[in-house]
């Protein structure tokens, strides 16, 4: 038995919201994978808690995107029954969780980006988006502070932790570009007053990143011209595997609940 896929339409509002909602959803899935595997119990709790916040934010955005899409879908259908090319998160979110250094560098970069994004979305002309952002901004502030703490602690830690942080930064650096890539969907969102162009967040994001990296004694990797295209549905080889695990139950047992 299997469940048929659903497709969302191509309106820029829906795409703009799915890019953010899918970012929350897919990163929540990756953080959830740490449960039972984190180096200390406190981090098991922290990563699971952050995953839960992100999942809550994803639910709200997917529900609203489905509403704007107007095909009568709900959050569960969008989360579990779309095909890979219909997910619009940047590739950064879907990369395997890596080691603890990799996870903390990604969490810090993403939480800082989300904090800046939610702050601006609070003044969205769409009242539902503004309300979702007003709640999420408080949660992201905790995520960002926690991850920044770890970046400093590990960057300024032992020779082993410093080396792992430098390696994580080098691996992740080219993937950050997609967080600030402007395109027609962004332009439409700006014109509608729905939300900011992601490119607009870059100077502030870079300033925060630099500040924390300096504190951690970590050097910048070299700039890269590579821009991934997850926001347009073109994902890495890891996405299919992630979706297979995430979607399995709803595909195999349609509408299954517990």
């Amino acid at each position: 038995m299997s469940q048929a896929s659903v497709q969302v339409g191509s309106s820029p509002q829906v795409k703009y919201l799915l890019r953010i909602g899918d970012s929350c959803l897919i990163l929540a899935q990756r953080l959830g994978e740490w449960c039972g595997h984190a180096p200390i119990l406190e981090e098991d709790l922290a990563l699971a808690n952050m995953a839960l916040d992100l999942l809550g934010q994803a639910r709200a955005l997917l529900t609203h995107a489905a509403h704007l899409d107007g095909q009568g879908h709900d959050e569960d259908q969008l989360a579990f029954l779309r095909e890979e090319r219909q997910y619009l998160n940047p590739v950064l979110m879907e990369l395997p969780r890596g080691d603890f250094a990799f996870t903390q560098v990604r969490n810090f970069a993403v939480a800082t980006w989300m904090l800046l994004l939610w702050r601006r979305l609070q003044s969205s002309t769409d009242p539902e988006v503004a309300a979702i952002a007003a709640k999420a901004v408080k949660e992201s502030a905790y995520h960002q502070q926690h991850a920044a703490d770890w970046v400093v602690r590990l960057g300024d830690g032992t020779a082993e932790s410093t080396a792992r942080m430098a390696e994580a930064l080098a691996q992740l650096w080219p993937l950050f570009n997609e967080l600030f890539d402007a395109d027609a969907v962004d332009a439409a969102a700006v014109a509608l007053g729905l939300g900011p162009s992601w490119a607009e967040l870059k100077p502030e994001w870079t300033a925060h990143l630099n500040e924390v990296l300096a504190d951690a004694g970590l050097a910048h990797p070299k700039a890269s011209a590579y821009v991934s295209a997850g926001r347009r549905g073109v994902h890495s080889e890891h996405m299919g595997h992630l979706l297979a695990e995430m979607q399995y139950l709803q595909r195999a047992y349609p509408g299954g609940k517990w």
Partner: protein, 175 residues
């Protein structure tokens, strides 16, 4: 918040009775305080067939949200058809936890949240652990305490330890 609603609804016995029921419903995760103490019951209105209860979520991903709705429906069943409306804006803040609720938390062993700075007043960048305000132990009152874990057993709490009486305790995070 809650008291202003109570004043508005006091001329109507039915609403006053319903508020009284709501004040008795415990929060499922911190049962020592009620939903009203927590500040998540935003409004109560009469409808043609019963009542409409307006609730606001604490955290976006709080897993107790659905359970709370079921508890409210069950507790108010005698008032007819209960319609639950989830209202996201303005976003819930721990500043809405009543004074009575804060005292109940402290007595239960959970350090209540301090006042929340406005979003604009908060530094976006990390605050070093050492510079954080010292939290008073809910058991012995000492401020000689340390944070063990920024995240705790539920989304809304962090874990601390008192270095004076050696007891671990939870802290309801200001948000």
């Amino acid at each position: 918040m809650v008291s202003s609603h109570q004043q508005q609804s006091s001329p109507c016995g039915r609403l006053a009775a319903a508020w009284e029921v709501l004040r008795q419903i415990p929060d499922p995760e911190v049962p020592v305080i009620s939903l009203c103490d927590l500040g998540i019951v935003r409004d109560l209105r009469e409808t043609a067939g019963g009542l409409e209860v307006v609730l606001t979520p604490t955290y976006s991903g709080c897993p107790a949200t659905e359970l709370i709705q079921d508890d409210v429906r069950a507790a108010l069943a005698a008032f007819g058809e209960i319609q639950i409306t989830m209202q996201r804006a303005p976003a819930w803040t721990t500043d809405w936890i009543s004074e009575e609720g804060r005292e109940k938390l402290r007595a239960y062993g959970i350090a209540p949240p301090g006042r929340v700075l406005s979003a604009e007043a908060q530094p976006i960048r990390l605050v070093h652990r050492a510079s954080l305000n010292k939290l008073a132990c809910p058991r012995c009152g000492s401020v000689h305490t340390e944070k063990l874990s920024a995240f705790g057993s539920t989304a809304c709490k962090a874990l601390y330890r008192c270095l004076a009486c050696q007891e671990p305790f939870e802290h309801f995070k200001p948000i």
